[in-house]
């Protein structure tokens, strides 16, 4: 059991999301930084897709009346367990009655609290992930509040001291350059707009969330006088609305959209989007589809290797 003493700024239950419900208009949701969630779950002996808590910018305070095996992954939120500092990327054991307290982020946007067994909430369309816009999934379809009590799926596993090796964490870490492939409406943008897009720095706007990251910077003009027919949008699509400021569609995105898309963040960099904070600066770098796919393969090979974790 987890008692929520302080919920944090925006804390939700997330797993790896629900896939395959596009025809119903249901977006995938799931962890904004899925790699941190997967690694956190492996640290505590869960399957990679077990539900955990995703905290945003400011963490919460959680009491474990019955104790728990837990791990924090993602960004450094200055955590302590009953006043003893807790490291990221390592499994810990909370004794019955101990309290885990997290503060403000020191690095990226999101920190994951994974517990052995996983968070026990009712699944919606095969996933525990919260989709706040529709109020579905997770704990009553909303972010956590003070006084919430979360159940943990009971397990017979015991505590094992596990740590992710630094080399792996480094290779996954924060980047200020997002790699993209060209978007389906790439040819709506003249060469001058393309140059602007790939040479300018953009800042993540305050009103960014799990649906989309709004960027501020040089406006990207598109060829005028064309009205796009709404179509399905993929995760990480970079759309350019009439004002010219790009929006990166993210995990809670709407499933269809009517703005032209100049680019799409590559799958291997999606987890990095989840760690971008408001006011962070970023640039876009164009890669070929085949490069993007081999980067994804390399990333998955790294995660599949046994050498990424020390016991």
């Amino acid at each position: 059991m987890i008692k929520v003493l302080v919920p944090g700024l925006f804390t939700t239950v997330q797993d790896l999301g629900r896939e395959g419900f596009g025809p119903l208009g249901v977006s995938p949701s799931g962890a904004a930084d899925p790699i941190s969630l997967r690694l956190g779950n492996r640290l505590v002996g869960n399957t990679e897709d077990a539900p955990a808590l995703e905290m945003t910018l400011l963490g919460g305070t959680f009491c474990f009346p019955e104790g728990a095996v837990a791990a924090l992954t993602g960004s450094e939120f200055d955590a302590d367990l009953d006043d003893h500092p807790v490291d990221l990327w390592t499994s810990i054991e909370a004794q019955p009655g101990q309290t885990l307290r997290l503060g403000v982020t020191r690095s990226g946007a999101r920190c994951y609290l994974c517990v052995q067994g996983g968070i026990d909430v009712k699944h919606f369309l095969g996933s525990a992930s919260t989709h706040v816009l529709s109020g579905l999934g997770g704990l009553n379809g909303r972010p956590l509040r003070q006084g919430d009590v979360l159940k943990i799926v009971p397990t017979r596993a015991s505590f094992r001291n596990r740590t992710i090796v630094p080399r792996v964490i480094e290779s996954l870490s924060h980047r200020t350059v997002l790699r993209v492939t060209t978007g389906p409406q790439n040819n709506w943008f003249p060469d001058s707009s393309q140059r602007l897009f790939y040479t300018s720095a953009y800042r993540v706007a305050e009103e960014s969330d799990r649906m989309g990251l709004r960027l501020e910077g040089r406006a990207i003009p598109s060829r005028s006088g064309r009205e796009m027919i709404t179509e399905g949008v993929s995760l990480g699509a970079v759309q350019i609305p009439p004002g010219g400021q790009p929006i990166i569609l993210f995990v809670d995105q709407q499933t269809t959209g009517g703005y032209p898309k100049i680019a799409n963040v590559i799958s291997a960099d999606i987890h990095r989007v989840g760690q971008l904070r408001p006011r962070d600066e970023l640039r876009f770098e164009r890669v070929e589809l085949e490069t993007a796919r081999s980067l994804l393969r390399e990333q998955e090979e790294l995660l599949a290797s046994k050498r990424f974790m020390q016991e």
Binding site: G25, H131, S134, E231
Partner: protein, 234 residues
Amino acid sequence: MLTPVADGTRFQSASDQSLLVYFDQEITPEAHQRVMKLLWLLQSKPVRGIRNLHPAYTSLLVEFDALTLQQDELEAILRLYLDRIEDVRLPEPRLLEIPVCYGGHFGPDLDDLSSMHGITASQAIELHASAVYVVFFLGFVPGFAYLGGLPKALATPRLTTPRRSVPAGSVGIAGDQAGVYPFATPGGWRLIGRTPVAMFRPDRSDMSLLSVGDRVRFTPISLEQFAALEKMRT
């Protein structure tokens, strides 16, 4: 990466793990029929490695797992499916009636919209309730149906400033599209009424009231009928 297939159908990479199949460059009933037929084929005979499908007006977005399925393999498989598309007999579409209480508090934009078109509010209601709409696709949020078939005399652009919160059940117009908000969300459609019917319920076996291809008609109801129907829901 734009590959013509046949009959104006073409493939276009959308990302490293998704492919758009375009059937036409304008919205036509034929193009939408083909979207539904390919969707139907892919749902009845799923392809290993395809993770998600997003039908829209004239296109189908196919999301795939690039670790197990190469794009050229996927394109070859889709070509085989497309070869069979003319043989697909889609089931007869359902016709669903959605009761709507028009105007007043439920439809704050009805008067503005009517005067923009130089008609009275009751004429606008009559027009809106006279048409039979087609569900082109669901998008935006779970169960939000994009409806085609709005009478031309009612076509109105979106609000310049979207509302921060549109109540669930709100019936709206955006351009030549009609729709109903299943949840309280932000939204820029012009609101002309509200339905007491639940558009999306996770506890129902057909979660979404509407599916791609359904036909829809709106029936005007009074405030009293609205209240009675709303009571029945809970």
